[in-house]
């Protein structure tokens, strides 16, 4: 879902508009990266909800304060990813947990983050699909709604949901294969 924006703007467009003080763009930027930040905190670093909330707010507060120091507007994703890592590690340190860079659990966190990066690319592809496909895929995979619930909410027969999901996944695959996928750009800077 976008926030008051008719077309899905690029990351760089959003960042540029945020720098100009555009509140709508800021809302959209938060919405775009909220799942990513949340997933890094809860899946990669396994923070409990209360701690994850602190990290979540801290990440976006720092993003807001430091957006001006981002060297490349389209590098916002790796930049926020690194910022979230740092906030999670700081949070773990301040709560008295020892954090060593070479611990197996830290390598595991990096593996999870790498998967989340791929998931963000898939999610970016999702935003290019029809609203109907975005809705049904989001309900089924992200909100874990049953066929019955989806059918009731969307006013369509539950028996057609599976085929709808399959068709929309096919569209998503086509969308992603149609892109010349490159690794996400590096922010090229150390964030503290």
């Amino acid at each position: 879902m976008t926030v008051g924006l008719d077309v899905e703007p690029s990351d760089a467009d959003l960042v540029a508009r945020c720098r100009r003080g555009d509140q709508t763009a800021w809302s959209a930027l938060v919405e775009r990266f909220s799942r990513y930040v949340y997933a890094i905190a809860t899946q990669a670093f396994r923070l409990p909800q209360h701690d994850a909330e602190d990290v979540f707010q801290d990440v976006f507060a720092k993003t807001y304060e430091r957006l001006g120091s981002l060297r490349s507007d389209d590098a916002i994703r790796p930049w926020i990813g690194q910022l979230t890592r740092n906030c999670c590690l700081d949070h773990l340190r301040s709560s008295g947990r020892t954090v060593l860079v070479e611990e197996p659990e830290d390598r595991a966190a990096e593996d999870v983050i790498a998967k989340l990066d791929e998931a963000m690319t898939v999610r970016a592809g999702l935003t290019q699909l029809s609203t109907e496909c975005q809705d049904v895929l989001d309900r089924f995979f992200c909100r874990d709604e049953s066929y019955r619930t989806i059918g009731e909410e969307l006013g369509i027969p539950a028996g057609t949901i599976a085929s709808r999901i399959s068709r929309c996944l096919g569209h998503l695959r086509t969308e992603l294969e149609g892109r010349n996928l490159q690794p996400p750009p590096s922010s090229g800077q150390v964030i503290r």
């Binding site: 800021w26 938060v30 909330e53 707010q57 976006f60 807001y64 791929e118 690319t121 898939v122 695959r173």
Partner: protein, 83 residues
């Protein structure tokens, strides 16, 4: 990403559930909160008695501006008043 079979796509989508709505809203309202806190700090700097009441209970002072006193916001105000 090199392969896009539909099962994998579904797995990737599952990895990114929504963050709690209240968290997202609080982050989206950050710029508004900053404006409110700026006004609060300005008033505190001009009025020692008001400053003392703010420092005595930061959460109450923040809530009075209409902003939710999350730990990040409270810490932000604490630093502003200390600076």
């Amino acid at each position: 990403m090199t392969t896009h079979n539909e099962e994998r796509l579904g797995e990737f989508l599952r990895l990114l559930p929504s963050a709690p709505a209240g968290w997202v809203t609080a982050a989206q309202e950050l710029p508004i909160a900053r404006v409110q806190l700026d006004a609060l700090v300005e008033r505190a700097e001009a009025n020692a008695a008001f400053r003392a009441s703010v420092v005595a209970d930061l959460e109450v002072a923040i809530r009075a501006t209409g902003v939710e006193p999350s730990p990040v916001v409270v810490e932000h105000l604490r630093k502003r008043l200390a600076g």
